[in-house]
C-alpha cells in the first residue's frame, strides 16, 4: 500500500478506541515494527487527531504526514524510531 507517495509497511485502525486507548493501540502497533518501517494509523477527527500525533512525537517517532480521508478519519503516517 502507498499513501501520498509513501510506501506503507503496516496499518492500524484506532477509530474503534477512545482516549487513551487510541494511543495505546497505536503504540502497540509501532512496537511490532522494525526501526525505519512506516506505519499508517487511521484515526477519527476530534480528540484523536488533536492528541495522538503529539503523543507519537513524544515517544520519539518521526511523523511524515497527516492525510485527511474526507470521511471524518485521518491517516497519520509515522516512521518508527529506534527503541
Amino acid at each position: 500500500m502507498e499513501l501520498a507517495g509513501i510506501k506503507i509497511d503496516e496499518t492500524v485502525d484506532i477509530t474503534d478506541k477512545v482516549c487513551p486507548l487510541t494511543f495505546v493501540k497505536a503504540k502497540v502497533a509501532l512496537e511490532e515494527l522494525e526501526e525505519g518501517e512506516i506505519l499508517a494509523i487511521r484515526m477519527n477527527d476530534g480528540e484523536p487527531v488533536q492528541n495522538v500525533p503529539r503523543s507519537i512525537k513524544e515517544e520519539g517517532h518521526q511523523i511524515l504526514k497527516l492525510l485527511d480521508n474526507s470521511d471524518g478519519t485521518y491517516y497519520l503516517i509515522v516512521r518508527k524510531a529506534e527503541d
Partner: protein, 287 residues
Amino acid sequence: MAQIDYGALKKGGFMRQKQKGYFSLRLQVVGGNLTAENIKAIAEVAETYGKGYVHMTSRQGVEIPFIHVEDIEAVKAKLAEGGVKPGVCGPRVRTVTACQGSDICPSGCIDTYSLAKELDQRYFGRELPHKFKFGVTGCQNNCLKAEENDVGIKGGMEVSWVADKCIHCGVCEKACREDAIRCTGTEVLLTKDKCTQCGRCVKSCPTDAWEGKGGYLVSFGGLFGNKIYKGEQILPLIHDKETLFRVTDAAISYFQENANAGERFRLTLQRLGEEKFREKIRAAYEE
C-alpha cells in the same frame, strides 16, 4: 495557664478546632511539593501528637488535626527538624499553589515550581487587608485553576512558524483547538486573533517548525468562595520574570493601599471601579 492568643496562633497556621484546646496545624507547602524528609517529620508529629492522620487541603496544603495547645512548641520543634514550617491563615498571602509544570509535564509551558518558590519567598505571609492567593499553572489545560486566585499565572507561548523546517504534514492544523492555523500545502497561515497562545502547535509539530517563546498570562481578582468570580487577564503574554514581578508587586500594593479590612481583591476592584487598577497594572507592565 496563660491566656491563649488565638490571633497569633491562627497567623502561625494553628486553626482552632471545635474540640476545645485542639488545633488543626496548617503547614507551609510551596507548589504542592514536600520532600521525603518533610513527610517523615509530618508523619511522626501526626502519630505522636495528633490522631495519626493528616488532611490535604483544597489548595495543596497539609494540616495535622488534633494538636493540643500544650504541645504546640514541641510540635513546632519536631517539624523544624524535618524542615517543615507552620503555614498561615487569616489576612495575608496564603500558600502559593502550582502544578508540576514544564519540568515534569509534557504540556507545561513554564517552570511553575521555580516560580512558585520565588513568589513564596517574595510574598508568603505578607500582611494584607484580607487573604490573598497566588496560583501557578503551566499551560491552558489549567490543572491548577489559575483564575480562581487573586493573582493567577498561567503558562503560554507566543508562537511563530519557521517555513524552512516545515514538512507540511498538516498535524498543527488539527492540533490547534481554536481553528487558528491553516495548512495550504505550501504555506502555514496563523490567524493571530484566534490564537490563545496555548502552544499546542509547538508541542505537536514533528519537525519543530513551530517555535514558541514561553511566558506568563496573568489574571487578577479571582474568587472561589462565598462569592465566585473568574480572574481577568488584562495584559498580553509576559515573557520575563522581571516584568512579571513588577506587575504582581503592583497588584498586591494596590490591594494593600486600597482594600478595606476584610475585603477581597475582587470586591475592592468592584467598589472602586477597575479603570484605575488597570492603569496601574499597565504602567507597571510598560515601565
